[in-house]
Amino acid sequence: MSFITACCQISEEACAVNGNVIVRKDEQSADSWFKQLYKELALDYPKFYKMDMLAQAGFLASEFIKKAFPELVSSYADDEIALLFANSESSSDTDIRFKESFQKRKSPSPSLFVYTLPNIVLGELAIRNKFYGENMFAVFPKFAPEFFLQYGSVMLATGSKAVLAGWLNILKGKVEVSVFLIEENKADGLPFNKENIIKCVGLADQA
């Protein structure tokens, strides 16, 4: 039996781990919201600043989960944690910026272009954590809890021991981020079912 053992949600105003708000956006700060969250983590990972917002979103949420569970990465072999992410906006936020780079500024930006694929966030998480496991990024018109349930189960049945899953929507200032961890045989989590996926992602109205 598998369980959701941790989740992190980030909205435009707050960041919560396992349902408890741990950071609220400081409107007075000169830093962007994601920079505030990065500083809260007190990490030394300058690559964060090169990432687009979609990759930053996945990075921040997964780091908050790791902070709550420091043994997470070390308790699995390097190919046992699968990455299962989805959204409804693909990489549109960065796509729009890249299009502006060649249409308005007349200079297509290679550093933006490499982020014009939604699965780049999976690459960033793999690099950060040395994850060599399975990858899947899918796009849906709206939040699709059934997909996480079905494909999460598939991944656990085909060799992965844990699944780091995420619903990440970033577009024109919208921040709708949820990352959750699915593990097997851990009694201290929520049973991995549709109801609890909806609860973790916090989008009951869409599902």
Partner: protein, 360 residues
């Protein structure tokens, strides 16, 4: 057992699988010099479908593809409640709506064919096609669906072309996969599909067996291939182990072979590490260009035709070894007993995927 069949392709080389396979058998390429398409108005080689001019070209390709598929299988399968469509695409119909590149076309497809399940769009860079076929197999084995139609589709846009130009990754000549003089990709466009099913009887022609496939990340770089080919090495090793297959049982490798210096070198390194350097291998990019999200499906479809015809198709554009580890690249078409084929793909985000096909 999972079956795979009803392979189809729409590309610059033809409107159906027969026309496309005939073209590759004759070693004809869909690549041509297209005037003034580059960012600086330069002429560039592309595998472009000149017939595709409609604003809704992405949607039309999907609809045409499903029409093609419907004559190759029991037509009632398409609108069955036990059938799912998985679309593999990197950029969808980005020119129509950059903020919403998939929905309008997919919505039209659902309506046109009265599809019962919401299609899943796999958008995982250049492994999307192979990953989508593997996902189809996994979904069927888990009992969630009986049949899955995997459609891979991407069209050429200024967006993608200028992007690859900004990375200095576009070849001045038609691409030369694995060749010493290779210098980058040639972009292509098109649509391809395969049907994955637990029921042999839905296929009008005898299907093949689809063995379980896997994926693996390089955990190395978001846009540069791993120097050691780590992710490709790992996915192939996982795939052959899961199926209890040894390297000497593989008759042929349909490689990714984009014709960038680093990608092809990475693939050669991985195949060498796996003791697979002697297995005959090709890249189809010299025929179709790099069709991104469609490539994995298209190259699987061609591999299936190669198996059905026991014909090894030469790797177009290759003449002189150009990787530090030597490979057995097919330099001419030749009859060959092809019972088991390995298909691989690698892409941005450090992702790699592989699958195995076997004759029944």
């Amino acid at each position: 057992m999972t079956y795979i069949g009803a392979e189809e392709i729409i590309s610059p080389l033809g409107q159906n699988i027969q026309e496309n396979f005939l073209a590759v058998c004759e070693n004809r390429s869909g690549i041509s010099l297209v005037p003034k398409v580059g960012f600086n108005n330069e002429d560039l080689h592309l595998a472009k479908m000149t017939s595709l001019t409609a604003e809704k070209k992405f949607e039309f390709l999907l609809v045409d593809m499903l029409e093609n598929i419907s004559v190759q299988i029991d037509p009632s399968v398409i609108s069955s409640t036990k059938t799912l469509i998985i679309l593999s695409s990197t950029k969808g119909d980005l020119d129509r709506d950059i903020s919403n590149p998939f929905d309008p076309a997919v919505g039209a497809l659902v309506k046109h064919f009265n599809l019962k399940n919401q299609p899943i769009i796999v958008s995982n860079a250049c492994i999307s096609g192979v990953l989508a076929i593997n996902a189809a197999n996994n979904f069927i084995k888990a009992g969630f669906y009986d049949h899955i139609i995997v459609i891979g589709c991407d069209v050429i846009s200024d967006f993608v072309l200028y992007g690859f130009q900004s990375l200095f990754a576009v070849s001045a000549l038609p691409c030369l996969p694995f060749d010493k003089n290779r210098s980058g990709i040639t972009l292509g466009e098109g649509c391809s599909a395969v049907v994955v099913s637990n029921t042999k009887e839905i296929f009008k022609n005898l299907p093949l067996e689809l063995l379980s496939g896997t994926s693996a990340n390089d955990a190395n770089h978001i846009s540069g291939p791993s120097r050691t080919g780590e992710g490709l090495y790992r996915t192939i090793q996982k795939t052959i182990r899961q199926n209890n297959i040894s390297a000497d049982e593989i008759d042929f490798i349909s490689a990714h072979g984009t014709a960038t210096i680093f990608n092809d070198e990475m693939e050669a390194t991985a195949f060498d590490r796996l003791n697979m350097a002697n297995i005959p291998l090709n890249s189809m990019k010299g025929y179709f260009g790099h069709t991104l999200g469609a490539a994995g499906v298209m190259e699987t479809a061609i591999s299936m035709r190669m198996m059905r015809n026991n014909l090894l198709i030469k790797s177009l554009g290759y003449s002189e070894a150009g990787t530090s580890k030597s490979l057995n690249i097919a330099t001419e078409n030749r009859p060959s007993e092809l019972n088991t084929i390995l298909k691989t793909a690698s892409g941005f985000g450090g992702c790699n995927a592989s699958l195995l096909l076997r004759k029944l």
